[in-house]
Amino acid sequence: MTTAETSAQIFRDGEADRTFRPSVWLSRGAIYGALILWAIVCLFPIYWTLTTSFKAAPDVMQGNLIPWVDYAPKQLGWRSLGLTPELLGSESTVRAEFMKRFWNSTIISVSASVIAVVLGSMAAYGLSRFDYRLGPMKNDDIGFFFLSQLILPPVVLALPFLVLYKSLDLLDSRIGLIALYTLTVLPIVIWIMRDQFQSIPTELEEAAMVDGLGVWGAFLTIILPIALPGMVAAFILSLVLTWNEYFFAALLTSTHANTLPVMVASQTGSQGISWWSMAALSWAAILPLIVAGILLERYIIKGMASGAVK
């Protein structure tokens, strides 16, 4: 823009273009106004939860909004979780409980996502490269079979699994939840990865096989490194979905394998008006995902956008 103006004026603005046009400014203003409005809609609940976790009863009742201006931040909420700096050294049953749930959630969501990405990538690669035939089913049917699991509402599997896990002695165990979560995210992983593999030219493997690699060798050493961004996207998306899952966890766990959402949900009813501790708990439960969202936004968008555009 500036270079065009400073250099010899080849392109000269017409009289009409140089006059001030209010409609342009108006539309700019409308765009930014809408953007800022929606950003507030998105961010205010997060801000509200964070500030509420530093409030005490009078602050809640007066409806104070801005810390240090409206009210002095207090550590009531975080103290009730045992997560303030001075309490970190000492024993705390609430913190132990919280950490146990946090740890359960971490193990379950990470393992389920890893298994789903491994199984899903293999299946997606096979479906994008070879022709299979299983009775009357061909590639498209097998692919549809995997993706159709997405339509299956979890409630259909919930009660059969409850009875099944009871007889398998898997109720309230991490392994049971990991298996179920893997199942729920597998279609999404296959969806993303199939798109990813289809965009990689087959000449790469052909060249590798001329050099003496087998099918699996070519897959592991040549294709996987190229498909890594897609795998990261699928992994992050699975992680978000499994970390937030509530329905199965509420039905199938009771004391040992409880995840964080179950803990948050169980506190909402019992604690009445002690908002500060609920806010602290909610905030601690969503913090990992906010961090992930800010740092890995690129991958999440890549994962969700794949398959949208052919």
């Binding site: 939860t49 339509i151 299956l152 599997l157 995902l289 906010i290 936004e297 956008a305």
Partner: protein, 362 residues
């Protein structure tokens, strides 16, 4: 063979016989262990099994032997099958088997808290569901919730257009708009449903009072409560549609819009005659996926209203959840879920067939 990846297969595998033995041996082992367990459970013989775990292990053994046997019998072809086989075996074990098992449960009168145990009762549960006003009401609610997707779509499209415009701080706005999707619905239920919209101290209640609504109550009347659930669910999932639509917008070649401008089209006409028709396939994909997610809606309802007031906000999932939680009624709950599944499969098939001509690339 028309594989996309051309490979010259090697000669006939050397251990075909051994491979077949492994596959059939594995299947035999599975059947044998399962039969043994069944006999033990029904009290014919006493082997002292505590749970059905041995059958599960036998299935693992069978799956491993099947994969291994594939390579031995079919050589190169077997190695290719190995890509899809683990996922297929996993899904079959986790979906097909429980579905068959669930069909059995659905046709029985089975209350986990009653001492009678399980009794087969055919289609009684189905007729009971047909006459259950609360279940029919939950199904009707699902129709309302699904229709709300159209509004979500309009908002998501608007946001995608905004993000696609020439703006500063695009990255900030993208991250901010994405964040609601990352939050767990349970935390959202508390953060928004239970604290921000709390009728006495919540900031939204204060806002409503300054705007002139003296006794704000967001979950008291059926219509407002249902609208609130829709709004909260929309808040969480609008980013999802927005990103799919944004990806679609960015795939539209710039030249098309420029050509339309050169031809003198106004912004409004450019949108309706260039952008929107090009966005139709993406839009329909996004809406279909969103419908699939919407049909699973439960967490927010369970945690904010528990279906109330009077079942006005119930979804099918939350209704069945309470049917189990409050009454331990496994048989009836499973039948309700199966009816729902059949309705969904029919509905989605019709929708997908009906919209195919707009989604297929021409």
């Amino acid at each position: 063979m028309t594989d996309r990846l051309h490979i010259v297969s090697d000669a006939a595998p050397a251990h075909a016989g051994l491979g077949r033995t492994m596959i059939w041996g594995g299947a035999g082992l599975l059947v044998f262990v399962a039969a043994l367990q069944w006999a033990d459970q029904s009290g014919r013989i006493d082997l002292g099994f505590q749970s059905w775990r041995p059958t599960l292990y036998a299935y693992f053994a069978f799956a491993t032997l099947l994969c291994w046997g594939q390579v031995l019998t079919r050589g190169e072809q077997g190695k290719r099958a190995l890509f899809v086989l683990p996922a297929a075996l996993f899904v079959v074990a986790m979906v097909i088997f429980p579905l068959i098992f669930g069909a059995g449960i659905a046709m029985s009168d089975w209350n986990l808290s009653s001492p009678d145990g399980r009794q087969f009762n055919g289609f009684d549960n189905f007729w009971a569901a047909w006459r259950d006003p609360f279940y029919l009401n939950a199904l009707l609610n699902m129709v309302w919730y699904t229709l709300a997707i159209l509004v979500e779509y309009v908002i998501a499209f608007g946001l995608a257009l905004l993000l696609n415009a020439q703006i500063r701080a695009r990255k900030f706005f993208r991250v901010a708009f994405l964040l609601p999707l990352m939050l767990s619905p349970v935390a959202v239920s508390w953060m928004i449903g239970k604290s921000m919209f709390e009728p006495r101290f919540g900031p939204m209640a204060r806002l409503a009072r300054t705007l002139g609504w003296d006794t704000p109550s967001f979950f008291g009347s059926p219509e407002i409560a249902r609208f609130m659930i829709m709004a909260m669910d929309a808040w969480t999932y609008i980013p999802f549609m927005m990103i799919m639509l944004l990806a679609g917008l960015q795939a539209i070649p710039k030249e098309l819009n420029e050509a339309a401008s050169v031809d003198g089209a106004s912004g409004w006409r450019k949108f309706w005659e260039v952008t929107f028709p090009l966005m139709l396939p993406v839009s329909i994909t996004a809406i279909l996926i969103r419908i699939i997610f919407k049909l699973k809606l439960a967490d927010i309802v369970i945690n904010v209203t528990a279906g109330g007031p009077g079942g006005a906000t119930d979804t099918v999932t939350s209704f069945i959840f309470r049917e189990y939680r409050d009454r331990s009624n496994v048989g009836y709950g499973t039948m309700l879920a199966f009816i729902y599944l059949v309705l969904i499969v029919i509905g989605m098939t019709v929708l997908m067939k009906g919209t195919r001509r707009w989604t297929e690339p021409r």
